[in-house]
């Protein structure tokens, strides 16, 4: 072995401004919560709105997390993602309606079992649908953004119409399982049980996703693939298989988000996924393409801001998220924590 010549390594220390800049996105959610507290004034109203905003944010994150990875890994713009949300909601809610005997009794065990069964059914169906969607619709248009938009929007429309054929054109109203109805009172604020559950569930899913991405080899491959797919392939990994796995997982998560959103709204429609896609795209864009952490922070901000603004100035609620996206993009044109640079 040849001895290495003298070479005193030095760590390229980041300047303080860069360190602060990197940490800034992490501070945005606490800052927004604090601003909400100062603007709303009433502690109980603020607490209710905050939990509601966090619950909404968690559900949007679940729907958006798969899309941001698909975008990052294979540079695919999938407008059809909304179809998985709708299909997930219909399959899950149908399962819950079929299990009425379990959801209508005040038994935590039976209620949770029914919700779990609904979630598993929704994720299996949307995962399988995602596999077919990738194979038939997305695969022929890799590398062609305009075609991707056209064919995935087409796929979304076809699947929405199929929902009308299978379940009928009317919206379906549902009630939550007995033990998820009602609210708990804390510090004078009434907090819906279901929203608390959504917050806990979303947080658990985010932690699980981070663990998979940071601690497992498949997570390493996904993170590396988002940055430089060509190099991952040159190391010997079949990135296509990884991409299919991420696409199927992302579709299944969208289905899960659809069930949760359906239970949150207590009504489902074939167009609900399409409507949610506006928020989902805002989250993916402000979070930074390919970034799960960015999507998480972005989703929480979208959920919180929408709830605070709807309380403070209802007329502005509709534009609050567009305003948020504009502000974030003026500050960071590639989103808060981009993994993939603009192509």
């Amino acid at each position: 072995m040849a001895a290495a010549p003298d070479h005193a390594p030095k760590y390229a220390q980041l300047p303080l401004s860069d360190k602060i800049g990197r940490a800034m996105p992490l501070l945005l959610v606490p800052v927004l919560v604090l601003l909400g507290f100062l603007s709303i004034g009433s502690t109980s109203s603020w607490l209710t709105l905050t939990v509601s905003g966090l619950a909404m944010g968690m559900m949007i994150f679940i729907m958006a997390s798969g899309l941001t990875l698909v975008f990052g890994l294979m540079d695919v713009i999938n407008f059809g993602h909304g179809a998985f949300i709708s299909v997930g909601a219909y399959v899950g809610i149908s399962a819950l309606l079929a299990l009425e005997g379990w959801t209508g009794v005040p038994s935590l065990m039976l209620n949770v079992a029914a919700v779990l069964a609904a979630v598993i059914a929704a994720m299996c169906v949307t995962g399988a649908l995602g596999w077919g969607f990738e194979r038939v619709i997305v695969r022929p248009v890799y590398g062609a953004h305009l075609k991707q938009i056209l064919v995935t929007v087409g796929g979304l429309i076809v699947i929405e119409q199929m929902i009308h054929v299978l379940w009928g054109p009317d919206e379906i109203y549902i009630t939550r399982p007995e033990m998820l109805k009602g609210a708990v009172t804390f510090a004078g604020a009434a907090i819906e049980k279901y929203r608390l559950l959504a917050v806990v569930f979303g947080l658990a899913l985010f932690i699980a996703m981070r663990l998979v991405l940071k601690r497992t080899k498949i997570g390493l491959i996904v993170r590396a693939g988002v940055q430089n797919g060509e190099m991952v392939q040159a190391l010997g990994y079949r990135l296509r298989l990884v991409f299919i796995g991420v696409f199927v997982t992302g579709s299944a998560l969208a289905g899960l988000g659809g069930v949760m959103w359906g239970l949150y709204q207590e009504v489902i429609t074939a167009g609900m996924g399409e409507e949610m896609m506006i928020l989902v795209f805002i989250v993916v864009i402000i979070g930074g393409l390919g970034s799960v952490e960015g999507a998480f922070i972005g989703a929480l901000m979208v959920g919180l801001l929408q709830n605070y603004v709807a309380f403070l100035e209802p007329k502005l609620a509709l534009i609050s998220n567009i305003a948020l996206m504009t502000a974030i993009l003026m500050w960071r044109p590639q989103g808060m924590m981009p993994v993939v640079k603009a192509k």
Partner: protein, 240 residues
Amino acid sequence: MSDPILELSGIHTDIAQYHILQGVDLAVPRGGVTMLLGRNGVGKTTTLRTIIGHWQSKAGRIRFNGTEITTLPTPARARAGIGFVPEDMGIFSDLTVEENMILAAASGPLDPARLEWIFAAFPPLRTFWKSEAGNLSGGQKQMLSIARAMAEERQLYLIDEPTKGLAPAIISTMAGALRDLKKKGASILLVEQNFSVAKALGDTAAVMDDGRIVWAGEMAELAGDSGLQERLMGLSMEAH
């Protein structure tokens, strides 16, 4: 001479509307360093990228270890034993040095003995093992890029301008590591603009011009003939 480890016959590659490789014929001998030389823009990088499969050739054949790999996808070529170090280094900057190396060991966990060998060649990688690769200096990134290719035993290494823009001390480290690889029996196809490195490392050389190999032979022959250098590359190595 034994069978070449890599043979390109009549390779044509297009990038968009540009016809870059126009019939490349190249044989890389087993167990030595072959320098791929030529002026900027003659197709050296495209040749390496075509061999690893990032660009698909539209005509011609590529044989590696006696097996045709022309239509194989990139991961299959890598698993067959070809390591690739691209010109831009291809570092995963958001991953740590450790994570970059773990990923480089595609067929299983990193071999500790091999890792020690890599650390001996590139000491800074041990120092910054837990640091994000994006925070390394240019030279350290290049070390990581080559170390990644060395993480598993490969029969052929395709290395694109590993000394570009580096300080002399680091160039010397790179050259030492490549010599070690050669001693271990690996074959190397090296694109290099630094002619003193090319002269020191190369056993054989191939010179490209206009998307073709225009000369191939012993490196010593090319290094010793300034007229030939002038004719093939428009400059003399004596100037370097």
